[in-house]
Symmetry: C3
Subunit: 309 residues, 3 copies
């Protein structure tokens, strides 16, 4: 990935265009190859100055996403979350992207405690999210925040999907967090008393990418194991999810951000409830991994360092 | 009054809803009673943590307004301004609220010098406000900024109200300021040479509540002693007042705020005119009362203190 | 020119109105003469306080523009750029004003390197701007940034103007910069092999006035030597130029400003290309003139000084 800044006049290269595999700067037309090296200067004698290089970041393309390494180290597939289900044809996916106001941990907290669904997303409300049994545990460097609830009703949106209004299910929702902000969310719905694996399983990913100290890119995908070729169903599902994320989660997190400001939310001594165990654990793990990285001298470079380099 | 911040994840409780006399947080559904105590936790085992309390502020409800004590002391009715006329059926009221850009003292200054009317509110222009006799004096901890003018014309808006175009009146306008930003404005119009008390009397209140260092909530009410049951008259009157406040005062004060920025306007050495005597006096009184309060150790708590408490 | 701040309550005088050659403040109606002296106080006894003066700045009106001296010195016609062609009836002018985000030097840089035209303004693209011969030199305190190119095609917009599609010209574009941000841009188009003076000559001015550290007023005029009385031609020409400036230059410079922020762009070590020679030279000259001015004790006054004076 190229740093989004031409080394000539600092125009954003992302506004440029691709010309035969090179990225042309939108302002004065310098062209860069994928190593960030300027390979064409349209002006005057056409000589390309040696310093005409923009920084590149290692990337991996996997699970339908581009993963960027912002620091000094090479891309490391072992650091990716396990999103194997994204490549499994058993599920049909709808995908989306949200840009929201809020520190990215406020967005990960939101998924790690689904107890908010009953209040913020009335259409997604189900007993499991509030009175279900929670099971939070560490698994290597990842954190699981799971909740299960037997023999009860599921949310309206799920009932619409399964045409199962008035039916009871055993339900499990397993969220796995991987640093710094990647989460899988697996939902299982089975006939009461039957094994988890015999029911329906829906998959989703929620990947939070910090853009600034108070804005976040939120990439999501939702996979269903029914109606694989039904585009109308896909469109309705996407609209329902986008409503929940854009109109319910995003405004609430923006309000939360306005109250928290530039403080670390933990410094405000939040009252902790059962549902916060996952967020607390993930936060602790993230701090530990950051401390490890810093003690190894692998600090992420900030913009200033890049420019001065 | 409850602090607008849930102690769990700091969501604004003002976005929640009332459920059987309890305020339910919009994010995770904790419910609080009027003492700020969380009394219901919908999650897991439902145990309510002891620390699940949000700060409350003493309030008094009087004169159609809710008065909040933001500091450590109990609500004290003796500190309220004298707005008895608000409860008097002699007057019929229209009311409103404005949210404006500007330090709240810029809003109080605006009422304490009505000399701006002739220039900013051409419909409210009357000789009294510019060439009338001013009388500014202290009355306990309050400040009066009065102006009177005999045997002259009154403003178009008042003429429309009284159907009195071309008629002369003796006119008095008495503004009383009470710390920190509450003002009554009483207007008297009498046949020339007759006593003040024999004429018409209109009442209004102008209450400025600081929201931030550069934004203010402006609550107003205007009482007339004519056409008590005429709703069409009320609607026209409200529209006229809202026009003056929203379209004339508010933009001007926002421009003033932009020029003054975060400076104390007095540090910019404003040229003082006759009309500024009330504002200068009120400002001095306010500084004195703040100093007294601080020397008594009754500093208003700021957000940070509340959060850390 | 009057400072845009009433000395009474600091309202912006620019929102006032002219009443018999005096400028009336929009808030309380003080009136000022062209020396900045308050000459009328409508309030009370009408006495005008001695301190009721707003600062004035020397101005010159020339070339259809008002030139302001913001410092302590008198207006000096010798410091004006040579825009004599603005008063010459040989050219018919269209004029405009743009308000943009960006430090004013980013706007002058944009004109001093027309090499951006081929990429940012496809309608203005011509070989001269990229592969033409550049000639940059100092001329007193001004800087010329010229480019010439023989026997080649000119831009579509120019072809539309001359009805000359498919024709070749010898082309010259001469930009002269005068501190701090005034530029003339003279374009010559002649039959190949004929003298510069025998062809068409178009004139334009590009005057950049800093409003704040990150916003600029951009005043422009474009003169043509054809179709002097054709209003439809004028309207089309103005629309074409406004499109280039408003829709192409302005957004690009705003993006550049967002990347550069409050840094001096040179501190970011930009890669320098042939086209940057003019901007580098002008920048050096500007720094030299500022240093001279400061060593002469002629610092420009900032707002704070004015207010405290």
């Amino acid at each position: 990935m190229l740093r989004d800044m031409c080394p000539h006049r600092f125009a954003p290269l992302s506004k440029g265009k691709i010309i035969s595999d090179q990225l042309q700067c939108p302002y004065h037309g310098l062209r860069f190859n994928s190593n960030g090296q300027c390979v064409f200067n349209p002006h005057g004698d056409g000589v390309v100055p040696k310093a005409a290089v923009t920084r590149t970041y290692p990337v991996l393309e996997k699970f339908g996403l581009v993963w960027v390494w912002m620091g000094q180290k090479a891309a490391d597939p072992a650091k990716l979350p396990n999103f194997d289900f994204m490549d499994d044809t058993r599920w049909t996916y709808v995908k989306g992207h949200i840009h929201g106001s809020g520190y990215y941990e406020l967005f990960t907290d939101n998924i790690l405690d689904l107890g908010h669904a009953a209040f913020l997303h009335t259409g997604l409300s189900a007993p499991a999210f509030t009175i279900g049994k929670r099971h939070v545990f560490q698994d290597g460097d990842t954190v699981w925040s799971n909740v299960s609830h037997p023999n009860d009703f599921i949310s309206d949106i799920m009932n619409n999907m399964f045409n199962s209004h008035g039916k009871r299910f055993d339900a499990w929702t397993d969220v796995q967090w991987t640093a710094p902000g990647s989460m899988s969310l697996l939902s299982y719905y089975a006939e009461p008393g039957t094994p988890k694996e015999d029911g329906h399983m829906h998959t989703s990913i929620h990947v939070m990418t910090p853009e600034s100290p108070d804005t976040t890119h939120y990439f999501w995908a939702f996979g269903r194991d029914i109606h694989p070729d039904n585009e109308e169903f896909s469109a309705k599902l996407r609209a329902g999810i986008e409503y929940a994320f854009e109109e319910e989660d995003k405004p609430m997190i923006a309000l939360q951000q306005a109250q928290v400001g530039d403080r670390d939310i933990m410094s405000m001594r939040p009252v902790l409830l059962a549902g916060d165990a996952g967020a607390v654990r993930a936060r602790r793990m993230l701090r530990k991994l950051i401390a490890q990285e810093q003690s190894n001298g692998e600090e992420a470079s900030d913009q200033k360092q890049s420019v001065d380099a």
